[in-house]
C-alpha cells in the first residue's frame, strides 16, 4: 500500500472549493424551480382536475420511473437531434432543468401527502366559516403541511446537491468534473476523489444542522 500524497490533497482543496459556488448555484436554482413546480403538481393531485390530472400522473410516473442520468442524457444529447434549438442550451442550464423535472416529481408526491395528511377537521372548520378554497389552502392547510413536508424536502435538496455531480457527464466542470480532470493529469485517483467526497460531506453536514434548526422553528407551535 502506498502512502497518501497529503501535499497533493491540500493543494487540491482550494481548487475543488472554487467549484462549490457552481454546485450550490445549480442545486439552489433547481430546488426553487422544483418547489414551485412540485407545489403546482401536488395541488393538482389533491383537487384532481379532469384531463390535467392524467397528464400530471404521466409526468410524475415518467420522471420517477427513469434514472436521472438517463433523463439528462436524453435531454442534452438526444433531444437536440429532434429539436435543433436545444443545442443552444448549455450544460449548466440542462443540468438545472433535468434536476428540476426529476426532483419535482418526487417532491410533488411528498407535498401531496403532507396536504392530505392535514386532519379532515381542519378542512371542515375552514369551510364552515366560509373560506374560499384558496384562502383555506393558504391560511389553514399549507402552513400545517409545510411543517410535515419540510424534513423530506430538505432531504431532497441534499440529494439534489449530490446529484449535481452528474452534470460533469454533460461537460460541466463542477466539483466532480474538476476532480476527475485533476486525477486524469496526476493519476492520483484516490486522493482526488477523497478530497471531493469530503467536501460534499462537509456541505451536507452543514445543511443537516440547518435542517434541525428549521424543524425546531416549524414545530414551535407544537412544542410542549
Amino acid at each position: 500500500m502506498r502512502a497518501l500524497d497529503l501535499d497533493y490533497m491540500l493543494g487540491l482543496v482550494p481548487v475543488i472549493l472554487g467549484y462549490v459556488p457552481l454546485t450550490l448555484f445549480m442545486a439552489v436554482m433547481a430546488m426553487l424551480m422544483a418547489l414551485i413546480l412540485a407545489s403546482m403538481l401536488a395541488v393538482e393531485r389533491v383537487f384532481r382536475v379532469p384531463v390535467l390530472d392524467w397528464l400530471v400522473m404521466l409526468f410524475i410516473s415518467f420522471f420517477r420511473g427513469t434514472p436521472l442520468l438517463v433523463q439528462l442524457f436524453l435531454f442534452y444529447y438526444g433531444l437536440p437531434q429532434v429539436l435543433a434549438f436545444l443545442t443552444q442550451i448549455n450544460g449548466v442550464t440542462a443540468a438545472i432543468m433535468g434536476l428540476t423535472l426529476h426532483f419535482s416529481a418526487y417532491m410533488a408526491e411528498s407535498i401531496r401527502a403532507a396536504i392530505t395528511g392535514v386532519d379532515r377537521s381542519q378542512w371542515e372548520a375552514a369551510r364552515s366559516i366560509g373560506m374560499t378554497q384558496w384562502q383555506m389552502m393558504r391560511r389553514i392547510i399549507l402552513p400545517q403541511a409545510t411543517r410535515v413536508a419540510a424534513p423530506t424536502l430538505v432531504n431532497y435538496f441534499i440529494d439534489m446537491i449530490k446529484s449535481t455531480s452528474l452534470a460533469f457527464t454533460l461537460g460541466v466542470t463542477e466539483m466532480m468534473g474538476a476532480a476527475q480532470k485533476e486525477a486524469a493529469g496526476s493519476f492520483l485517483y484516490f486522493e482526488a476523489f477523497l478530497v471531493v467526497a469530503i467536501i460534499y460531506w462537509i456541505i451536507v453536514e452543514v445543511l443537516s444542522q440547518g435542517q434541525k434548526r428549521l424543524e425546531i422553528f416549524l414545530n414551535r407551535a407544537y412544542a410542549r
Binding site: G18, T87, G91, F187
Partner: protein, 254 residues
C-alpha cells in the same frame, strides 16, 4: 435601462449560435482535459501539448482561442452540433471521419500501442491480445483499430469514458491501447505500475477536424496555414520537445 441590458444579453445569446455565419475571429476548441500529456488539468489549469499548439495557432492566425472541455465521447457530437469549431484531442484521420469533416494537415504522427500492467510479460504486442480483456477510450480510434483486427472477435474490448490507465494498473483489464507517445509519457510520469507491450502496431495521423461548410472550410484553411508556418519556423518541434523530449510532429525519416 435594465431592460436594455437584458435585450442586449438576449441578442448576444441568440447570435452566439451556429446559425449566424459571420466572419468570426474566435476559435472554440473542444478537448477532454483528461488525456495526459496532450490535454490535462493540474491545479485547475488546463495544459498540455494540444493547449500549447492551439495557443500558437491562435497567435499565428490572429484567432482568439477558447477552450471548452467535455467528455471525449461527446466531442464529435459537439462539433457536429456547432457547440465547438474544432477538436484538439489527438483526433486520428480515418476514412469515416474524413467523409464527415474537413481536416487540417496532420500535426502528430504516432502509433497505436498496447500497454499492460508492470510485470505482465504474457502480453508482448497486439498479437498476444487473443482471449484478453482490453480497455480503450469510448469513441476513440483505437477501439476501431482493435475491431478491425482479423482476430477481433477473440478480444474482449471494454470501452471507457476515462481512467483506462487505472483499471489496467489495478488488473481489472489485461491491457489498454492508446497512442504510443502518451503511453510512454504516462509510464514515465505517473505512479501507476505499467509497461509498454511490444512495438506500435499501426501508424496514426492526428489532425484538427472542422465542419464541412463554408465557415468551417474558411477556418480550416486559416488554421492549416498557421500549422504550416509553425512547422517551418520550428515552433511545432519546440512544443513537442517540451512535452515528449522528441519530435512527434513529423514522420520519422527512415
Amino acid at each position: 435601462m435594465k431592460n436594455r441590458y437584458f435585450a442586449a444579453a438576449v441578442i448576444a445569446a441568440l447570435s452566439a449560435g451556429p446559425v449566424v455565419a459571420q466572419e468570426s475571429d474566435t476559435l472554440r476548441v473542444g478537448m477532454s482535459g483528461g488525456y495526459f500529456p496532450f490535454t490535462f488539468v493540474s491545479q485547475n489549469e488546463l495544459q498540455g501539448f494540444e493547449v500549447d499548439v492551439m495557443n500558437a495557432v491562435g497567435e499565428e492566425a490572429g484567432l482568439e482561442i477558447e477552450f471548452e472541455t467535455m467528455s471525449f465521447s461527446g466531442l464529435i457530437g459537439a462539433l457536429e452540433a456547432g457547440r465547438i469549431d474544432t477538436i484538439a484531442n489527438q483526433i486520428t484521420i480515418t476514412p469515416e471521419r474524413e467523409a464527415a469533416f474537413l481536416f487540417t494537415q496532420p500535426y502528430v504522427i504516432d502509433g497505436a500501442q498496447v500497454v499492460t500492467r508492470e510485470g505482465n510479460d504474457e502480453i508482448d504486442g497486439v498479437d498476444s491480445l487473443r482471449g484478453k480483456t482490453v480497455a480503450v477510450n469510448l469513441g476513440s480510434n483505437f477501439e476501431q483499430l482493435l475491431r478491425e483486427l482479423p482476430f477481433a472477435d477473440e478480444i474482449n474490448i471494454r470501452t471507457y469514458e476515462s481512467n483506462i490507465e487505472q483499471d489496467t494498473a489495478l488488473g481489472r483489464v489485461d491491457a489498454f491501447v492508446m497512442d504510443r507517445v502518451s503511453s510512454a509519457q504516462v509510464i514515465k510520469e505517473s505512479p501507476l505500475p505499467l509497461q509498454l507491450a511490444g512495438n506500435p502496431f499501426s501508424e496514426i495521423r492526428n489532425a484538427l477536424p472542422f465542419r464541412n461548410d463554408e465557415e468551417g472550410r474558411e477556418m480550416r484553411d486559416r488554421v492549416d496555414a498557421a500549422l504550416t508556418a509553425l512547422r517551418e519556423d520550428g515552433t511545432l518541434t519546440e512544443i513537442s520537445e517540451k512535452w515528449f523530449d522528441s519530435d512527434i510532429t513529423s514522420a520519422p525519416e527512415e
